[in-house]
Symmetry: D3
Subunit: 150 residues, 6 copies
Amino acid sequence: MKKSRFTHLDSRGAARMVNVAAKPVQTRRAVAEAILRCAPATIRQLRKQALPKGDALAVARIAGIQAAKRASELIPLCHPLPLHHVGVDFEVRADRIVIRSEASTDARTGVEMEALAAASVAALALYDMLKSVDKKMAVERLRLLHKTKH
Amino acid sequence: MKKSRFTHLDSRGAARMVNVAAKPVQTRRAVAEAILRCAPATIRQLRKQALPKGDALAVARIAGIQAAKRASELIPLCHPLPLHHVGVDFEVRADRIVIRSEASTDARTGVEMEALAAASVAALALYDMLKSVDKKMAVERLRLLHKTKH
Amino acid sequence: MKKSRFTHLDSRGAARMVNVAAKPVQTRRAVAEAILRCAPATIRQLRKQALPKGDALAVARIAGIQAAKRASELIPLCHPLPLHHVGVDFEVRADRIVIRSEASTDARTGVEMEALAAASVAALALYDMLKSVDKKMAVERLRLLHKTKH
Amino acid sequence: MKKSRFTHLDSRGAARMVNVAAKPVQTRRAVAEAILRCAPATIRQLRKQALPKGDALAVARIAGIQAAKRASELIPLCHPLPLHHVGVDFEVRADRIVIRSEASTDARTGVEMEALAAASVAALALYDMLKSVDKKMAVERLRLLHKTKH
Amino acid sequence: MKKSRFTHLDSRGAARMVNVAAKPVQTRRAVAEAILRCAPATIRQLRKQALPKGDALAVARIAGIQAAKRASELIPLCHPLPLHHVGVDFEVRADRIVIRSEASTDARTGVEMEALAAASVAALALYDMLKSVDKKMAVERLRLLHKTKH
Amino acid sequence: MKKSRFTHLDSRGAARMVNVAAKPVQTRRAVAEAILRCAPATIRQLRKQALPKGDALAVARIAGIQAAKRASELIPLCHPLPLHHVGVDFEVRADRIVIRSEASTDARTGVEMEALAAASVAALALYDMLKSVDKKMAVERLRLLHKTKH
């Protein structure tokens, strides 16, 4: 199940874009998650100043969607892919914001980097908007939740 | 010390680029860190296949530097800034890779988002290169280590 | 004929990229038009200084073609699409320049935003080149002329 | 007051970036406006589905702000400028949405193209979000309202 | 064999993106080469300071791969294409660095501009890294080595 | 005169953006040249179909100017710089097109990469437009002609 070598590095260790020509086009989907840890006072202030009707979550959502679309510009060995769908959503809890992203397409290679880029950049956009109030935030865990192909 | 309001959101909660016209140009520097948690076997394989002479860390470094330069494209309310310096470095440990980035410039606003974008995208680039071997990696903590202005 | 809801906004009003996975790939074409209203003296000066052999219309044409290719970067919820063709043409009249653009591809979603982005940015590029002479120009009407799929 | 020649075209009509080296750095500000004409039913549906708490205006605002930041990529002869501030706001009326943008900086050249790009792309983003309901929208007038330097 | 007219210019000489709608999707591959001529002392210094384990070639490789992916942004009449593979490799000789690039995809139009952009920008990236030592480098020959479709 | 080390590589060979903080802002100018070698029949066809009034040279000029503005995106260790001026010009000879570019600004670091990127990408854009007629073109020499600071 686990490959024994990094497919993105050749036998000399040189970086390469994997040649996907021989892979079949399949329907690909990936879901990722990032958690932005904040002070409870930050979340309270966010609820007061910007939720439910302010722009904060919309700005982060758009930043995430745009990042998924440009994943192949950000990540050097990523293939440029058309995307059928990108979604970014948020759960605002007492001391953190959970960001969940998904990406899907029909392609020869997976879309996990697109989903991870979306969650990651959405977290950065939130950080940027909240940082005037909270200097101690951290993105705590960015990971792939699942990916499928069929 | 802590401001009571988000400067990036107005009284209606609408997003806005902060007007920095009245702020003085100062020398700004920010240092950020991200940790990519990997299986020890992944790190061993990385040491064997790509360290010390392969491209893996160079690719991630470049991805991070380029991300710092385009932080204002990725993060909607970020100001476009000239940068004097961006650096990204790595410490490969038994079960993780520690990514440290710094950015500096003379500007009216800080460069923490540039440093965070560098660490964040360098981590994504590493993830992309290592994911054929390790499906369970996570970016564990992305945070600002310090920032200065003078 | 008219849908009763905005497909780009969900039931909470949250923005979303429409999931086009279930739509068939069809041949899509869209034609758009923008009108840049100028003073007659501006048009006379343009004819004297830059028509027929100057670069002015070529610069605007290229700006428009490039904008169509990056429509999905400019417009947050737009899908990235390969394009078969983008064309931008101009009709210079006594008091206006009529810009007509078209875009076509085989895709799951239409190319009207690509055509509109082309006409719109071609108009901005003309505005930029003519503004040293004419401070009162306006883009008067930017609209879709027709779109087809089959 | 009106210059007799296009500064962006040389004596052969060839396009050129104006050399701004000799111009003084001044505080520049520009305000632009675009009007998106919609059917009254579209506006009613927008008020019901997405105002006041939906993302629609936030998405368009971000699209406009990002377009101002990349004006020099969109408009071939535009100078890349740092920006102190970009703002985009909306007035939703019975049969149109009025988009007002402003940009400001300290630079050797004006920021009217940045403001116009912001208003123009914000209008395109709104068009994109509303087009599933209304096929007959048009951007009716895109123009500079005023610009200052001092 | 040789077409008598430029397909990218119409009968008036106006630039156009060729409409590729009627062309079949074929497997396309192109290989290009650029030669960066350097002083022998530069090459010796490169071998000492950065080969085999430094980042220099990795940086140039990534620059080339990224340029192939954005060829349609750099070259105005180029079609945006998905790419199956981009590779950039180097041969460091006594007085020059030979850069060889290849690009491949399934598309309606060839990928020679993608391969040429990769070789060209990889050469620029090397030039940038070596220029503090050698002021007299030149890219000596950038050309297509071969292209295939089937 | 000649530095003994590559400033873009540290003592381990790792790539780095040079820290320009300590350098004074100076007026910088650089001039570069590229030569596109073509068959004489290609040049004759170009003169007939596209010169003097066609778009071919304007397209290449714009491609070059845009590339100068995005040099820091193309070349990983380049600093983002504001530019006062970018110019690209052409001399069409019997068997070649000579492309000359210049870039200037006030900055802490030189603009030779901007000038070289402009000449290089302008050559690629010409190649793209002429390639349907001439399969054997080559960019023959891309080099810096001079650079100044004061």
